[in-house]
Symmetry: C2
Subunit: 702 residues, 2 copies
């Protein structure tokens, strides 16, 4: 009771709560009594501070530094900070690590059995310390450690969609954590804790501002503010990036063009980049959204995406800077299938980009839907490094109100086989392979972070930030194992807590798909908020009918070779699998095929019955999640229990809103019944078309 | 170490840290072993929860409820919840309390010596419990208690300037704490803690949105969101108010006019108010900024402020709702002295408002400057209840970067004597007197609250929120004693901590005046941000020269009877005191008088030398504050120590910026030297006119 708000969630997965006075803790204490850990600056200082906090919190012991070797001690550093490493048998292993890798192992040094955390670089040491703390947080044995870790992707970046006025586009956790007003001079504790959280999972870059950019982010005064964040992040290995508004030379540079072929424009960017590096010597580079959704770009001047990207890349290159050029472009023309647009725009440019450019597609070809097949550019751009963009913020997955563990979604995309070079050419391998072929590799996530006390609005949203980081480090990791680590660090190592929490997490994303857009349905959410059902939206600017094409006979979009041809963008045999309605996975059925209501599904049910079944299953799954959660009452703290319980209640109501809204709408076309043994919709379709909220509010809308 | 972020400041003054195992705590424990406290809903439940948290935190004991009377026990309730009260000698005292008052006393009941917290109403009980906890937090004796409290003003309201998109006008502590996206369904812990903090000082109303209003705040969907907050606040005695945009009938009502004389407009407001009360049965009322700074109002239709206010008041009246009508109106005409404008507009309307209207002037006649004489409407509107508006957010007092305790400013205004009815007619008494003459009384504060972890950006900003609340309850309270309570609850009861903290707080506002706008100077801050010096601002729209009227000979504005006549708005003898340069208090000298540079001040110095002296004194005072603070190293937690220390460093630099920027500018006119024995400005005036920041940033601007 002493700390009223102790479990606000602010501590994230770095809570370092006492492991208690059991045998295991005692054995941990024995192994952490003394520490050799020279280094008082930069990443080493950050690592030592973290270790001190961890030992104190988990084990109740102080960090006791010594310079003499003893049995059971901890030795932490690089060959520079601990020259003794150079004499050890494992020294070549240290030298063989990448710039960010580390070793954690039990070794004999000078006759003493010690635990070594070693790296070639200071940041590797910090990563190693976080890993070491995680071993204790998750009650792993500290004996016979032989851990060697190198990140499998080099750029692991968060793409904040934070506007300069503090709002966050598609952010559901309050407002931007960047307090621009007081930057660069005042450094908030939250910045440090943000950096700690990122470093603990290996995220090494942050694009500070929205891809729907404002040019003023490149003005001197704003660069100085950004440099204040860069100073905080530096010890944690996080580089600062900015979005570059393509029209900046016109908007803030006093030029009358932003044509990438114009020498004055090129000079403006060159000077701007020079200025940036004078303020932020380790600046990461630019993220650009160009010629998409109203943003300016090189096509405004008859130039290609490659022309635009290369102009920026050329001026960044001397400083080691990178360009991330988004492939999320589509024409707002109803004649063009949006699904095929990105591929068609970028495929012809393969190999035309400078070596420090990533083209960045989203995970799927539409726009962060609850489920999409992988973007066909993965496997389709062998000569251009691609960075994959995931969305961690739940724009189309219930905002911060729904418990949806995205680790499974990330894994589904990463493990999708593109067959680019035969079987096993997963998206994950495609990304990793660029490291070999081009010397660079990357992944990006649009975070769910805001000023809410618990950072992510929904406590379980933290798991998505966490999982993104862990999968960025190792895109072949298991999302289930990552969930387990997170749940242990966030809640408890007790199986009676873990088991229901993990079951909830693992079922949660499929539940969301079921009650919103099952069987390959997509983009039928509310046009404006992207939350709640609106398959009926139909106006001259935008219509959901393009996405479901519902009629009295059928539903779904024919994207086969005989349809829009989207399937043709995939390699064989992926193409054939999607093309054939019999082999097309049911979860993509209506994405690729137009299907009659009475089509017999593999289950034996008709399409209509199968669809109804999925929607009802989704609601039932939320109810099961509620039941599992309520079993945790008394087993976890009241504050977090109530928080999640109240959101699950909210989620159940929204799930019903989705289910009933969609099915009543579909029913207007199919004319088929919702089986009588199922709970029937409480309201009319008209009601669902009217309410601004999912819930009936004191009868206002009926 | 266990709680890394324990001292983030989130707990405000309700930290309930252990008082330790000394004699005093033991005596407290004896008096709190058993509690009779029936009531499980509403304010009683909130009070019990608070007591439980307080006893647990402060004393390490559980709240032990009992139904039998024992010596030394605590008995808490109303005559309704504890009928036994009706038989006690002190029962008439309870019945004599106001709707929000309470008693705390040691009494004999049924032969047992007990401590009683009693009130006529449930909310009185909650206020009493907070007071009782404060006694322990500030280590007061619990013997011979005979406390009887009634608030001296009835409406004690925060006026949030929160926009519906989450930004806060003139907010410096992050963004709005209202997460509209998730309202009304998801109730954040922060809302409850906000309500607790307010209730702990007796604040009983919150205007949720900005006076520069958006009509959509009155739309049904937004009202429903507001009702979600009202539900959270209700047990804490806080009513929800909204700003009413005068053009709402046009903007969201589909009418083509907002003319208050139009029956359709009147009906629209009547229906709207009916709707509001159906959603928020205890809705407080409207705050209106009309015909000021571009806001629409009744004058758009040839009607008066009274016409506009009365139309709204009439439809609110049946529900007990109130209109706060701001008197902050000025014409953007250089011919008119802005200082006299509010009085001239409203004085003729005295007595023309309906009984449920407050006219709300700011504390001074300009606009929340670091120092202003009291607004002459106080004492000038005997027939119209006035609500005084203070600004808690430091718009013109260094934002959240400067340590400025505003309790002294609030007290200075409240204790200013208007002489409305002879000596002793202080502003405070004027406000209180309306309770007798009109049955209502009010005070308002524009808060400094945002999403920052510590709520107010600067830890010491919490003291201003706290002081406003305490002074709203009792406008004759001592700001020094309030500071002491706050400091004890926030830091420590140890004199070695308290004494420097209180010295810093008590000197801080005068220091700010000294290094920014001493001797009655005003409105020479940056035109846009209102932070930093810009006495040189001069453009067709707005010029600082209207406020200082500097020439080679003189500085200051002649507002005497022979000048703009502002002094004439004050009663005698205040008028004579301000009118005569010899009796005009030096702190208002340049406010009321135009003074030659060589004018001899009472100190014997010339005006120029006195001005220089004040600016230098201000910087020296900040340095003294730094010194006092650095003496606290090790005596308070590292996190809060560093936070304040880093902000004081920032404040020192800004103080120098102000001093040097202003004096170099004034010097261009006076041609007089800054004495050689003082530290000379490091930069040129040109530099200060150029930099967007107070600090030299890597030589960028020189």
């Amino acid at each position: 009771m002493q700390w009223l708000h102790a479990e606000s969630g602010y501590e994230l997965w770095l809570r370092y709560k006492p492991l208690g006075n059991n045998e295991l803790s005692e054995s941990y204490r024995q192994r952490n009594r003394k520490v050799l850990f020279p280094g008082e600056t930069g990443s080493l200082a950050a690592a030592k501070k973290e270790l001190r906090a961890g030992l104190s919190g988990l084990l109740g012991i102080d960090l006791a530094e010594t310079e003499t070797l003893e049995d059971n001690m901890l030795i932490i550093g690089t060959p520079q900070s601990i020259p003794l490493f150079r004499k050890q048998a494992f020294y070549p292993e240290i030298e063989g690590l990448s710039d960010e890798g580390y070793l954690i192992q039990n070794s004999k040094m000078e006759g003493k059995m010690v635990t070594v955390i070693a790296a070639r670089t200071d940041i590797g040491v910090l990563y190693g310390v976080f890993h070491y703390l995680r071993l204790m947080q998750t009650t792993q044995p500290l004996e016979q450690l032989a851990i060697k870790e190198n990140p499998k992707l080099r750029y692991r970046v968060l793409n904040h969609w934070d506007n300069l006025n503090g709002t966050v586009e598609r952010g559901y956790a309050g407002y931007s954590i960047w307090n621009w007003e007081r930057l660069p001079f005042y450094k908030e504790q939250r910045y440090i804790d943000y950096a700690r959280a990122n470093a603990s999972v290996g995220i090494n870059g942050a694009v500070l501002n929205n891809v729907n950019a404002q040019a003023k982010s490149l003005r001197t005064d704003w660069l100085v503010k950004a440099s204040g964040l860069a100073d905080v992040f530096r010890p944690y290995g996080i580089k600062v990036y900015l979005t570059a508004k393509f029209s900046a030379p016109r908007e803030i540079g006093g030029l009358d063009t932003a044509n990438p072929k114009d020498p004055q424009v090129q000079k403006w960017w060159k000077d701007k980049v020079e200025e940036i590096y004078s303020l932020i010597p380790d600046f990461g580079g630019f993220l650009v959204k160009a010629n998409s959704e109203g943003q300016p770009g090189p096509q405004d001047y008859g130039c290609s995406h490659a022309d635009g990207a290369n102009m920026l890349a050329e001026v960044l290159e001397p400083y080691g800077g990178i360009v991330f050029w988004r492939a999320f472009v589509y024409q707002n023309e109803r004649q063009v299938d949006r699904v095929i647009n990105g591929y068609n725009e970028f495929k012809p440019l393969d190999g035309k980009f400078r070596k420090n450019v990533f083209v960045q597609p989203k995970n799927g070809p539409i726009d962060f839907q609850p489920r999409e097949p992988f973007h066909p550019l993965f496997g389709g751009m062998p000569d251009t490094p691609l960075s994959l963009e995931f969305q961690i913020t739940q724009e189309n997955l219930g905002h911060a109100g729904h418990l949806v563990y995205l680790g499974t979604l990330f894994e589904e995309t990463l493990q999708s086989d593109t067959y680019e070079n035969g079987k096993g050419s997963t998206v994950s391998k495609v990304l990793q392979n660029y490291q070999k072929t081009h010397g660079i590799s990357a992944i990006a996530g649009v975070p769910n972070i805001g000023t809410d006390l618990n950072w992510t609005g929904h406590l379980f949203g933290q798991a998505n930030w966490y999982a993104f980081g862990r999968l960025a480090w190792n895109p072949d990791a298991s999302s289930a194992e990552i969930a387990e680590d997170w749940a242990k660090m966030t809640f408890s190592n007790e199986d009676s807590v873990l088991s229901p929490v993990l079951r909830i997490m693992q079922m949660s994303r499929e539940a969301y798909v079921n009650y919103t857009m099952p069987l390959g349905l997509n983009h039928i959410m509310n046009y404006d908020t992207h939350n709640g059902p609106e398959p009926w939206h139909d106006d001259p600017v935008w219509t959901a009918f393009d996405y479901h094409k519902i009629t009295e006979d059928s539903i779904g979009v024919n994207r086969t070779a005989g349809g829009t041809g989207a399937v043709l963008q995939y390699h064989s045999p992926v193409y054939e699998k999607f093309e054939n309605i019999k082999t097309c996975p049911p979860e993509y059925l209506l994405w690729f095929h137009r299907v009659p209501w009475d089509y017999k599904m593999p289950s034996g049910k008709t399409l209509w019955d199968e669809l109804v079944c999925h929607y009802y299953k989704g609601v039932d799954e939320v109810r099961l999640m509620q039941k599992l959660w309520s079993g945790l009452k008394g087993k976890i703290d009241r504050e977090r229990f109530d928080h999640v319980a109240s959101l699950l209640e909210y989620q159940e109501q929204e799930a019903i809103w989705w289910r009933d809204g969609c099915l009543l709408f579909f029913q207007e076309y199919s004319g088929l019944p919702i089986p009588a043994d199922l709970e029937q919709p409480e309201h009319s379709l008209k009601y669902y078309k009217t309410i601004p909220f999912p819930h009936d509010w004191k009868g206002l809308y009926e």
